[in-house]
Symmetry: C2
Subunit: 471 residues, 2 copies
């Protein structure tokens, strides 16, 4: 009797890694918690839809668990193999098949790096507006599989808003063709969005049709510091209506990002070691920082937007800080890396989401929770969407053995807080392996049962990314 | 043994119509083909989610087919009862539960008339941007169940883009709570969009959370006539990039609507019987008309947009026509009613959709098809979305008996044309009972099987709107 490994070698000889040393880099994604890492039994690197179909037919016969993988930049352990399972890495399916300028659409294979697509689109005056902030490493397929959200989601929406078509290979090796180059489609059930954010549990995405967006010719950034969190979150409310304060609504900013004072100071001090500039400007008593980005098609229009946004910031007690646009974004982008360096694997990257009007309550109460647990916490994120990274870090006096239960208690409280405000436990990073045990508390039982029934309808034997997303 | 009617009388005594005279107005929606009409066995008019749950528990026990119904303004026979089945009309669940200005969201029951919601939102400077053009009669629940598209979808997207939360009662009476007041959510599988456009086959929607949009303070409309279809469709391409002709992209128009010359002339002559004005301006040789709408937050911004859009129209051979904004929209809105009056039930309302760059080919080839079939055809629609109403009408020389097979042949050809251009058979009106027999040709077999598996997972006994949507 041949084993699945023998059969794989036969049908995909040049696409297979079985030596542990070769598989080693596929044992993790970017989840902090190393206990979630696992060496796959093998790694398959298909180069075509047909090869993915052959893989899944084989996996289905052998009930072999398969975990699809994009750039490995996920933060929740969603791209890590199941026990006894393999990884299907889409990295070799990395071609931009077509940039269709007339239709403002692109067709691509899933392994295209997000930034690579942008390099293709920039000279054409176009962009993919749903990109996440990890664009240098994440793949478009991974973005779709996790429904990733980006720094400009407040204006353009998350990945799902830009996916028009998908080819998907199911657990049994069937090919589903969903959507296409169409802006409207009510022919049959709308299965496409079900696959967006399904973390590889319903099928393996092998082709993607994206909507492209005309690239704004002018962008401008404001950074403001606030002496109190509530003032910053009040400004967010005005900015969500385009900076309107008792007047008609305006164009919404393309980014409304929040960083708490201490976190911003830490990241800035590391970025600009000689001090001065931004470092001085965000010194205490700055309790909160907002970054706001305007987009326009002319200098005049940009100036108008920036004036409105400035007013929304200053009338709420914000102090505007000087700096080039690139410098201001640099601060925001440095924050997650600074948090990571503070504590290595001994922190947790969180992304709870609440109704946008509740961001003040969320930040205030999360700080109270962290103080109670005696945990340092970095708070930053996409304030305009109500989506916050509230990242606890292990303090030196807590041992590595003590950390896990302390973290679990804090996360339970944090998730409960998000739910009590009408929110939920993940807005963009997903459930993966990391948050799976918290899902049953986050979703009503009958709704969760419906999700499980749909998963079962697509994958009756549970071979697609088992252990991920649903309990 | 009690019958389902006795039980219904017992549990919902004040919510039940069983007399044929009372049920008469529920035998049709706005589908033209009267052979699709059917008198329901009873009509239930629930007033709460709990009553809908009780109804479905009973229906499930008796395997009683239930067709949910909103405003009855559907054009595809999706709200007509199955043989031996009943209608569940949501018309009494018509309360706006909450307008949440801070979050820019509203919670409503499904029976709210779309225009009623707008009346509530207008004084607050907000609107529901996904509304369809039948706003005076359609309900929000119906819009969601059909994923209706509107005259401003080219800028704001269709209904699905604005639905954040749904409460849904399943075939067995379970309550699903999907989404909520959240702009991002990747907690579990994304079931919500599956229900949008499912035509009542997966569950009955009992509560909706909508995203609201700041209302632009300034709007302006342009109408242009073109001596050839290809010139008009070339202008559409430029307008989709915000009126850019060899320059940086601009803000996309909030409407790009097409009317063919003969149809526009017919509707205009009826609207303005004394002639002059628009009637004269669109006289032959105008072959195609485009209506373009600009939105802005100031007079200056509006003027800028209108100038760009004017240039996109005139550089493609368009001649701008004068008229107030209301007058110009009046012409576009009168067209479907004029078509209806031309032929009563002896026409067919179609809404094929193609990639936007293919609109020229679609219109040209649809005209050829109509000429070959010797059928008068009215062509108009949402050119910016690639979504066209190509409505054949029975000519006087064809008898009513001959009409059905001639129409079926024309539709088969029209749908085949849409598919050959990368499009599909319905962009906004849905499948209903009318297009069901064409679905198997429009969707690949394995994809269709997946849709059927999902439907079965939600409704194993097939009691929710059987005979609709899928073959």
């Amino acid at each position: 009797m041949s084993t699945w490994k023998d059969e794989l070698k036969e049908i995909l000889p040049d696409r297979l890694l079985t030596e542990p040393a070769d598989c080693e880099r596929y044992q993790r994604d970017m989840v902090a918690d190393r206990t979630l890492h696992r060496l796959p039994e093998a790694v398959v690197l298909p180069q075509s839809t047909e090869e993915v179909r052959n893989l899944m037919r084989l996996a289905s016969r052998h009930r072999l668990p398969v975990t699809p993988r994009g750039g490995g930049s996920g933060l929740s352990g969603g791209a890590i193999a199941a026990p006894g399972g393999i990884v299907c890495s889409l990295e070799r399916m990395d071609r931009v098949l077509e940039v269709d300028e007339e239709n403002l659409m692109a067709r691509l294979q899933p392994g295209v790096i997000t930034r690579e697509l942008d390099r293709r689109l920039e000279p054409l005056g176009l962009f993919f507006a749903g990109y996440p902030m990890s664009e240098e490493i994440c793949t478009i397929g991974g973005n779709v599989a996790t429904n990733a959200g980006g720094g400009r989601a407040v204006k353009y929406g998350v990945t799902a808003a830009h996916v028009l078509g998908l080819n998907v290979v199911t657990a049994s090796g069937e090919l589903l063709e969903l959507g296409g180059k169409r802006l409207k489609d009510v022919t049959g059930l709308n299965l496409l969005p079900l696959f967006v954010g399904s973390e590889g549990t319903l099928g393996i995405i092998t082709e993607i049709t994206l909507r492209l967006t005309p690239r704004p010719s002018h962008r401008g950034v404001l950074l403001a510091s606030f002496p109190a969190v509530d003032l910053a979150t009040a400004a967010v409310g005005a900015l969500r209506r385009g900076g309107a304060v008792g007047e008609a609504a305006g164009e919404v900013p393309s980014a409304i990002e929040y960083i708490d004072g201490a976190t911003a100071r830490g990241a800035a001090a590391e970025l600009w070691r000689q001090g001065g500039g931004i470092v001085t400007a965000i010194a205490s008593p700055a309790e909160a920082i907002l970054l706001v980005e305007a987009e326009a098609q002319s200098e005049g229009e940009l100036a108008g937007h920036l004036e409105r946004y400035s007013r929304a910031l200053t009338t709420n007690g914000g102090k505007l800080l000087r700096g080039s646009d690139a410098e201001l974004w640099k601060l925001r982008k440095a924050v997650p890396w600074w948090v990571k360096r503070q504590s290595g694997q001994w922190h947790s990257v969180e992304d709870v989401v609440v109704p946008p009007a509740e961001v003040g309550a969320l930040v205030r109460r999360a700080r109270t929770l962290a103080a109670k647990a005696q945990l340092p916490v970095a708070i930053f994120g996409h304030a305009g969407d109500g989506n916050f990274h509230i990242n606890p870090m292990k303090p030196p006096q807590i041992s590595e053995e003590e950390w896990e239960p302390i973290l679990a208690r804090f996360l339970t409280d944090l998730y409960q807080l998000a739910r009590s405000l009408g929110g939920t436990i993940s807005g963009e990073h997903g459930i993966g392996r990391k948050r799976r045990r918290y899902v049953a508390d986050a979703i009503p039982a009958s709704t969760l049962a419906a999700m499980q029934a749909v998963r079962l309808a697509f994958d009756p034997e549970g071979i697609l990314n088992p252990g991920v997303l649903l309990p």
